[in-house]
Structures are given as C-alpha cells and as structure tokens.
Symmetry: C3
Subunit: 139 residues, 3 copies
C-alpha cells in the first residue's frame, strides 16, 4: 500500500466563499502515482468545509443565503462561543451542515466521479491562511 | 491491497424517496472477496444522498417533512439556481444535510455495523436514472 | 495492509451530551501499530454522532441549543416515528446534521490534524450503553 499527503493553502479575502479544488485534488493523486484506492480531502480548520456539489454560480449564492438562514452570523451575542471574544460561532455551525471532509474513490488514477461532481473548499471565517489536507492511499 | 468497484443504478418514480441498499452493498463486498478494509458508498449525483439510519417507515416520512421545512422545494423563484431553468435547488440543499457518502468498516467480510444501522439511497430529484458508486479496498 | 478495530463504549447520564474522544482514537492507532493510513471513527447507533470541531464549552452549549432549534425534541407527536412508542425522532435528525462518522488521515503514526481539530462523540438519546467503532487501515 502506498500513501501520499499534501496540504492545499487558502486565504480568502472575504468572511465566506467557495473555491473549486477538483483539479488540485486530481493533481495530488497524479503526484501520488496511485491508480486504485481512496483519497481523503478534509478541512484542517473547524470553521471551513470540504464538500462535493455543482459548480453553478446561482447555486453557490443560494448556499450562502441558505446557510445564513439556518445559522445566522448576527446578532453575535446569540452564541455563548462569542462571549470569549470570537465572532465566528455561526461559522462552526455552517461547517457542520456542509461537512468537514469527503472521501472519494480513485480508479485508474482518476477521481471516480459522476458527471457534475466537483470538490469545493467552503470558507466561513476567512481573511487568514487556512489549510486542506489531501491524503491518498492505495496502489 | 485489493480494490473493487461497482455501480448501483436507480430510477425512482417520484421526486423524492428512500431505498434501503444495505444488502446490495454487502453483495458488492462479497463479490470483492475482501475480508478486512473499508467500503465507500457515495451518490454520483449532486441531488442525491447516501446515509445510514433506521429503516422505520414513520421515520422515513419524518425525514421528508423535516427536510422540506429546512430547504423547501417551493416557491422555485427563491433560489437563483432555478433561474437557469432548473427547479431542483432545494434538492442540492437537502442532499447537503443528509450527506453524499458513507464510509463503513469491513470486518471478517461483513459490514461492521451496530444493530440498527442500514444504508439508504436518498433521492431528492428523481424520475431519471441515477447511480451510486461502491468502492471496496482491503485484503 | 494492516487493519485493526476497537469499540469505545459510552453511557451518558443525560439525553444529550458531547465527549471528546481524540485521545481514545489516538490510543487505538497506537495499539494498531499503523504509521500511514486512514482511521474511520463512526457511531454504531443511529441517534448518535461522531464529528470534529472545537473543544470550547460555550460552543458545545451553542450546538445543543442550535440543534434543538433545527430539530426540536418536543412536542413528541410532531414525528410519526414517535407513534411507535419511541420519543427519539429528533435524535435521528440531530445526528443527520452532525454526521455519523469521520475519516482521518494517519501520518507518522499520529492523527494528522489542524491545530484545533478534536473528535467528539455526540449523544442525542443517552442514558444507555452505546458504542463507537474505530477501524484503522494502513501500514
């Protein structure tokens, strides 16, 4: 069994945003030289997500409005986490809905995906450097 | 390390529905001939889920009503995704809550499950052929 | 490829609660003697979660209030699942939001984590013995 790891770094200018990282993940699989196995892609921060969905601009805006409805940023004082001087309790909840990680099959050296599957980094508390871990195992 | 992949196909008659696929996944593990490892089961479409929960009829109806409350199908014009001629923005959100995939342990050739765990395919935009990927790795 | 499995047992005194199990999972990896691979950590019950987030007391209370808002315990008769004599339909939904499992990278024998990542067992229907499965694969 072979294994390979690489970190992807992000620094989004706004508080929230989505980045399509599908090509970056495929490139890590290429570097790993693994043909058959699994790839784990996870946010290394607890106010960010990695998830798979459609790369459609209207939909990405819909996510943002929908998550804000389910776990509103403001008022800040609705969350006890924010008593400690933080303002990002909502980001922890938004990330819970969207998920920390995806696990994908690697088949014949490629992400084994349906036609519309794209991997996204979801940022809910940006404006600083944050990381995603890609770990590939297989042969 | 061995690996094995198989697709399961679905064509649900309604917009939404749930299918217990536990036996199908176990059958793929049997075909793979893998005794110890992991199995990934993921929707290959972005308006469908694979998740693990209880196979109880009342509860399956509860999911449907609950998801419709958190991410309503209508009015269609509340979602910018639907401006493009689609009507399934809600299905993308419902799938986010329920999840794209499960990863299960394979031990002594069997799904290593608690007493009530059952794997479901969750359809949120049906009436067409859609797929689930089962990838088993191990020895 | 090596594999190793162990169950962690819980019996929380209240209906809901969170337990940090990061050290327990690391100990299972140590016992497994695996340096490079993946570890799956999943609830074996369908009214409990395993998830990764911050170990901050204010935030843990925020989760509890937030989940109760999205999937209220009462009134019990709002859920058809509860017609069968159960009172825990809300617990099935809360666990859907928080997730059944996490998959983590193992690198140089350690959980390959960002600075704040902690693994939690999330109980939504406690007061009885319940289990988490830890399965490590790798070399």
């Amino acid at each position: 069994m072979k294994s390979y790891r690489k970190e992807l770094w992000f620094n989004l200018p706004g508080r929230r945003g989505f980045v399509n990282i599908t090509r970056d993940v495929q490139q890590v699989i290429d570097e790993a030289g693994i043909q058959e196995g699994l790839v784990l892609v996870n946010a290394m921060h607890i106010t960010a997500s990695v998830f798979i969905n459609d790369d459609e601009g209207g939909l990405l805006g819909d996510w943002d409005r929908w998550l804000e409805k389910l776990a509103p940023e403001k008022p800040y004082d609705q969350y006890r986490h924010n008593d400690s001087g933080e303002d990002n309790a909502d980001a922890h909840m938004k990330r819970s809905i969207m998920g920390r990680e995806v696990v994908c099959a690697v088949t014949a050296g490629k992400l084994d995906f349906g036609p519309w599957e794209q991997i996204f980094y979801g940022e809910f508390d940006g404006r600083r450097r944050k990381r995603v871990l890609v770990k590939v195992i297989g042969e």
